[in-house]
Symmetry: C2
Subunit: 281 residues, 2 copies
């Protein structure tokens, strides 16, 4: 087990039976250390993650169709971007397939909600990252009645079927829902209004959305209850402490990569023969 963890992160953070209303967003479930230990672990484990990702990439280049897909969900300011910058930032960009899903374009709206998602799926050997995802179609869409219930209700089952298909095709899903408290969000939004280098991250609609907090909490709860499956479980990350959220996602990715039992691809050529050939030219 990784240092300072009393329980593997995959178990400590698993969403099963969890009520969001009861979640301590400043907690560090499974991790016994404080911030200093957390940051030390993060630096150490980033190297492990990077090594595993290189093996995934190497295997992909050698024809392995398997991939890993990190799905990030969370309210504004929950720290999704920070995960990409600080966790995904520690691995080789050659093996990263990053996609951020915003408000659907007119063209996307004319397609099934999974259409734009499928286009961004990671290829073999890639570490895919979805900053928001198909889950927006049962979150913001549900909260703001963007489509009627008879359209979004069946989406939970559609999503489960879709993810089953991905898993069967060799994609390991790492689904992460990040939660900050309403107070912590206020603090983070305030900071964006205080610092000129943060204005660009602020949108007045972020404040409007705060009025819908309870509706979002409910939509997230239903999402966890209905789409956390054996083959693609949700993990819930208390995200008031940025260092913990980053460490937690690092551990979840390491665990996912470890289950693939990756080794360096074997040579597909006669090594000695190639050495002789190279010696001649």
């Amino acid at each position: 087990m990784a240092k300072h963890w009393s329980l593997p992160a995959v178990d400590a953070l698993r969403s099963d039976g969890l009520r969001i209303a009861d979640l301590d967003t400043s907690g560090t479930p499974g991790f016994d250390g404080a911030k200093a230990e957390g940051l030390a672990c993060l630096a150490e484990r980033a190297t492990v993650l990077s090594g595993l990702q290189e093996k995934l990439y190497a295997n992909g280049r050698s024809g392995d169709k398997r991939s890993v897909l990190l799905v990030l969900q969370g309210m504004d300011t929950a720290g999704k971007g920070g995960i990409v910058r600080h966790v995904i930032g520690s691995v080789d960009p050659q093996g990263v397939d990053h996609a951020a899903f915003g408000v659907p374009t007119e063209k996307e709206k004319h397609h099934h909600f999974l259409w734009r998602i499928r286009k961004e799926l990671p290829g073999g050997g890639q570490l895919g990252v979805f900053d928001r995802s198909h889950y927006e179609d049962v979150l913001v869409v549900r909260v703001h009645d963007l489509v009627p219930p008879e359209v979004w209700q069946p989406r939970y089952d559609e999503i489960n079927a879709f993810e089953k298909e991905l898993v069967d095709e060799g994609t390991t899903l790492v689904k992460v829902a990040m939660f900050v408290s309403l107070d912590e969000q206020k603090k983070r939004l305030s900071e964006r209004l205080e610092r000129p280098d943060k204005y660009w991250k602020f949108n007045p609609s972020d404040i409007d959305e705060r009025a819908f907090w309870p509706a979002y909490q409910q939509a997230y709860q239903v999402m966890l209850d209905r789409t956390s499956t054996e083959y693609a479980p949700w993990h819930v990350i208390p995200a008031d402490r940025k260092w913990f959220a980053r460490l937690a996602v690092t551990e979840l990715l390491i665990a996912a990569l470890e289950t693939l039992e990756l080794d360096w691809p074997a040579a597909t050529f006669d090594i000695e023969e190639q050495k002789r050939r190279l010696a001649e030219v």
Copy 2:
């Protein structure tokens, strides 16, 4: 000027009039330090690059259409992948658009050679990275007669027109041609045959290609002569020393970003009003 540089990298590495045949691939043009200083500069300047890239990304998110596109060309083992891993790896993956161009697919072959390139152009605010590029269509294609001369000959002009269009639309091109010596390539290929964690990077055809070295040198020379323009100049990087190549590309990217004179985007809302609104919810 950056520390230890006697001449800005953009000037020291500019391809104008350069004969590849005369290039010292183990040189460090413009840089007066040795490896230790180089590595120290690299660490320091990576932070500068990362800060500038964040501003580019912030402006893109705020509607700025400008982008930067790094075009990497070089023979096998020249270190293109290392540039992506170690230079691009120091910036936020959210703002990176990476594309590697291999042998064209059947579908791609049925299109104009720039078709697949256009599809991967970076959007506003993005740092695009092309690992190989449209230049393969006047390099490997020319060396191996994959299409007749009457097809590849006009491509130099087509490429210049294409790049002019990109520049006019707000893309700053950073074109980098990396050169190792034939001996250094042998050393690097040997290493790939010695280390099981490197087998996957080796392909027997890499050895076949060595026989075409002079033809490639010639094709690269014509490429530099015909497609280094005022608006999209080539830079030539001696790449036997990996630390120098990485530092050089870091400097070229910093210089490109600095010409954009980026500032943090101004607030598009009334800051005080938003503070009042936030205080209420």
